[in-house]
Amino acid sequence: MTFLRHAVLRLIKALTVILSVVIANFFLIRLAPGDPAAIMAGEAGASDPEYVDRLREQFGLNEPLLTQLWLYLKGVVQFDWGYSYRMQVDVLHLIAERIPATLLLMGAAFIFSILLGILFGVLAASARHRPGRGWLDSVIVGISLLLYATPLFWLSLLAILLFSVQLGWLPAYGMETPGTDYAGLERAKDIALHLVLPTISLGSFYMAMYVRLARASVLEVIGMDYIKTARAKGVPWARVLRRHVLRNAMLPVITFSGIQLGQMAGGAVLTETVFGWPGIGRLMFDALLQRDYMLLLGVFLVTSTMVVVFNILTDIIYSFVDPRIGAGGQK
């Protein structure tokens, strides 16, 4: 019962946050110079005011701002997220078209960063804890510091220069080889190849973060009393690490992963631009430059929903991993 109540409360809270984000963005975007109707007219090459007025009317831009907001919010609830002025397509449709690419990229980068990050973080911490292996810790920490300080877009450029241009190993742009009729496994392989560079570029910064986080967390847990208890039981070090340290050390990593996934959507703008990845990061950037308000709002709505969902997911996962939270409610 309390679980249900809490879930409902949590949902309401999440919806409030999303709603606030949408409203804030709605007004923020309207602060931008650039009347979308005029821009559209300019793009279409028209110079007569009548045409501009027509466009304005057609997209409801002549209504008072609050009315526009109200109409928009009403639409959002009914899954009518408005119409992209520029592309003249339903916003939801556009986003739905682009989101799989972003999710794929983010998912790949997430898995890449968290798996390698935890692996190297644990490796470093455990190396530090054992005499004679300190150098490994230093090397891993050093590399992660470097990655941490490397501008993402610059890394992408260098990666393209090296792996695509010089070595020709990997495709430099896009999600698929254009003009092919790949299907099934072949297509998956093609996409996978395209995924490599963007994943590394997007994921390496976060990987460095996970290395540091996992390392610090493991070091902290190693100092805990229950680790001493386990060792006093005669459990060998490797097993202590696996059975006692890891699970507990993962708790802060899980908490951070929720935040990271949200921030990744921001990093995706850069990565998608450099690698021509057809995701919503680029869609957002284009929409912004073209003052495609509805589209921009839609993308924001999606990203903030994503962030909120990720946060809830992390909470749930956390509650599974940490019995103090998970089981407590059954009382």
């Binding site: 009393d225 229950y226 386990a230 006093a232 019995p323 939270i325 998970g326």
Partner: protein
């Protein structure tokens, strides 16, 4: 003493400290023998090196520390030279250990049954999984935990400190080791729980016949449990002998000092000063509500329920109770560090409970507090002078007068006046507590609430601070509420004692009466649990 009798021999052991501190070695030239079937207590205050000695035996010194002299011999076999693998085989099977902090000694993400089984799995004894399961359930019973069948599936956070310590003990006993090392296993527990755990260790030791190396700082515990006693001071062994030898006829001055510092628990007998009460508490109620999380229920804790008492000018009232009894909540409510949920607090005739923070602020100088943790109660970034003068200055006393007063106070709490220019981290725990007392006195309060003000101190320091408090109370005639878990301490310095249990004031009266003739079952248990009172086996 024959070779077969001795199961563990430590001789000439020295362990250097990694960084250059005030001394070069954690322990120096420590020699001990532990015989089969005996309980050897190693006694000492914090920093005496007793835990380091124990950890050296287990091969569990912190990274960067290793012995540089001496030997440790277990059943005729040198332990120090053993490889990690051989040590692992030894740990848990031949020598096992229990620790001070039951709250953190168990892996929070692993069920307790599993944690107990782990030690058996690790040593593959018994080799059969169902046998291990059976043994685990049996152990839960041995350590006196109810309903092993369902308890095995519980995570540690559900258990109380005492229950957790029992789990740790069960773990340590699983393979019937020859030696049990217990590192202050009862220090973090309430007295009644402590008494039970001590009883348990004693029973098990008797039934299994293993040797116990018991580390403690508490001579009461020593009296209850030890066969022989070793006293350590600053990394050296200063005295060793049978329990009776050491307790009744201590040789070393340090031992004598320690013994003298143990609270004697002789009740204060001078009459309560007559006069109008300075404080009257009526039906005080305080409830905590903790917020729920995902799948976490909201919890309601009735910390203080319907508590009433009154305090005369010049009276010292002891409020005694175990952790969670609500005694500290009362202190916080009196100082309006938290709001109350019901009742009245009449200070000098007027109810302070409904006052807003700013309305109450001018009155604050009349009610002061001495805190528990000497390390947390002083702002590390402020000089002692600032700490002592800030309060008076905030109440309008000119800086120069406040400084004069601060100097006087330093005399009163027996600290050097030059200390005013220094910062808290340059002082020991006892000195800090004196500074805390001076801070409270700086405002010339009419009432002082002392919340566990000596419990974090080593016993020798505790005695001095207690004496200082007692002296100040008697000389200034300030009223005092003395909150403590230690009935002996309360008895020594309080006119009246109130016993708290589960948020209620269950017993109230002069110490002599309460100690001799308690009216409540709970109070009786509390008295019985005072270490050193139990009859030696």
């Amino acid at each position: 003493m024959t070779q077969t009798d001795t199961i563990l021999e430590i001789s000439g052991l020295g362990v250097p400290l990694p960084s250059v501190g005030d001394r070069s070695h954690a322990i120096t030239d420590v020699s001990l023998t532990l015989k089969r079937g005996e309980i050897l207590c190693v006694v000492g205050e914090s920093g005496s090196g007793k835990s380091i000695s124990a950890n050296t035996v287990m091969g569990l010194l912190p990274p960067g520390m290793s012995p540089d002299a001496g030997s440790v011999t277990f059943k005729g076999r040198s332990v120090l030279g053993l490889g990690e693998r051989e040590m692992e085989a030894l740990r848990g099977a031949d020598i096992s250990m229990i620790f001070q902090e039951p709250m953190s000694a168990l892996n929070p993400t692993m069920k307790v049954g599993q944690q107990i089984m782990e030690v058996m799995e690790e040593h593959n004894r018994p080799a059969d999984a169902t046998a291990r399961q059976k043994r685990m359930l049996e152990l839960l019973g041995v350590v006196g935990l109810p309903d092993p069948e369902s308890l095995q599936h519980v995570y540690p956070f559900r258990l109380s400190g005492g229950q957790r310590q029992r789990i740790v003990i069960a773990m340590a006993l699983a393979l019937e080791p020859s030696i049990l090392i217990a590192d202050e296993p009862t220090t973090a527990l309430d007295v009644t729980t402590q008494a039970q755990i001590l009883q348990l260790i004693r029973d098990i030791q008797a039934s299994m016949g293993m040797a116990v190396l018991f580390i403690t700082h508490d001579f009461g515990v020593v009296a209850d449990i030890a066969d022989r006693v070793a006293v350590m001071e600053k990394g050296r062994l200063v005295e060793m002998g049978t329990r009776d030898e050491v307790l009744d006829n201590p040789q070393h001055p340090y031992t004598r000092r320690l013994l003298a510092a143990v609270p004697h628990g002789r009740p204060r007998t001078d009459p309560v000063p007559k006069g109008a009460p300075i404080l009257k508490v009526e039906n005080l109620t305080k409830t905590y509500v903790t917020a729920g999380g995902f799948g976490r229920a909201r919890r309601v804790v009735h910390a203080v329920q319907d508590v009433s008492f009154s305090l005369a000018r010049g009276e010292t009232l002891g409020i005694v109770g175990e952790s969670g009894s609500g005694k500290s909540s009362i202190g916080k409510c009196l100082l309006k560090l938290q709001d109350i949920d019901g009742g009245r607090i009449l200070f000098d005739g007027s109810d302070i409970a409904p006052l807003s923070p700013s309305a109450f602020r001018p009155m604050r100088r009349r009610i002061q507090m001495i805190f528990q943790d000497p390390f947390a109660s002083l702002n590390p970034r402020h000089s002692i002078a600032r700490i002592l003068t800030e309060g008076p200055v905030a109440h309008g006393v000119p800086q120069s007068r406040a400084m004069d007063r601060a100097r006087e106070l330093m005399d009163l709490v027996q600290l050097d006046r030059s200390a005013l220019e220094r910062y808290p981290n340059e002082f020991s725990g006892g000195q800090r507590q004196r500074i805390g007392i001076a801070r409270a006195l700086a405002l010339d309060p009419e009432l002082i609430v002392a919340d566990e003000s000596v419990s974090a101190l080593d016993v020798s320091v505790q005695a001095q601070v207690l004496e200082l408090l007692d002296h100040i109370q008697r000389s200034t005639g300030v009223s005092m509420i003395f909150i403590t878990h230690d009935l002996r301490v309360a008895a020594q310095i309080c006119h009246n004692i109130g016993v708290m249990h589960q948020g209620r004031l269950v017993e109230y009266g002069p110490p002599a009466e309460i100690l001799v003739n308690p009216s409540q079952e709970y109070t009786r248990r509390l008295i019985a649990a005072i270490p050193g009172r139990a009859q030696p086996h």
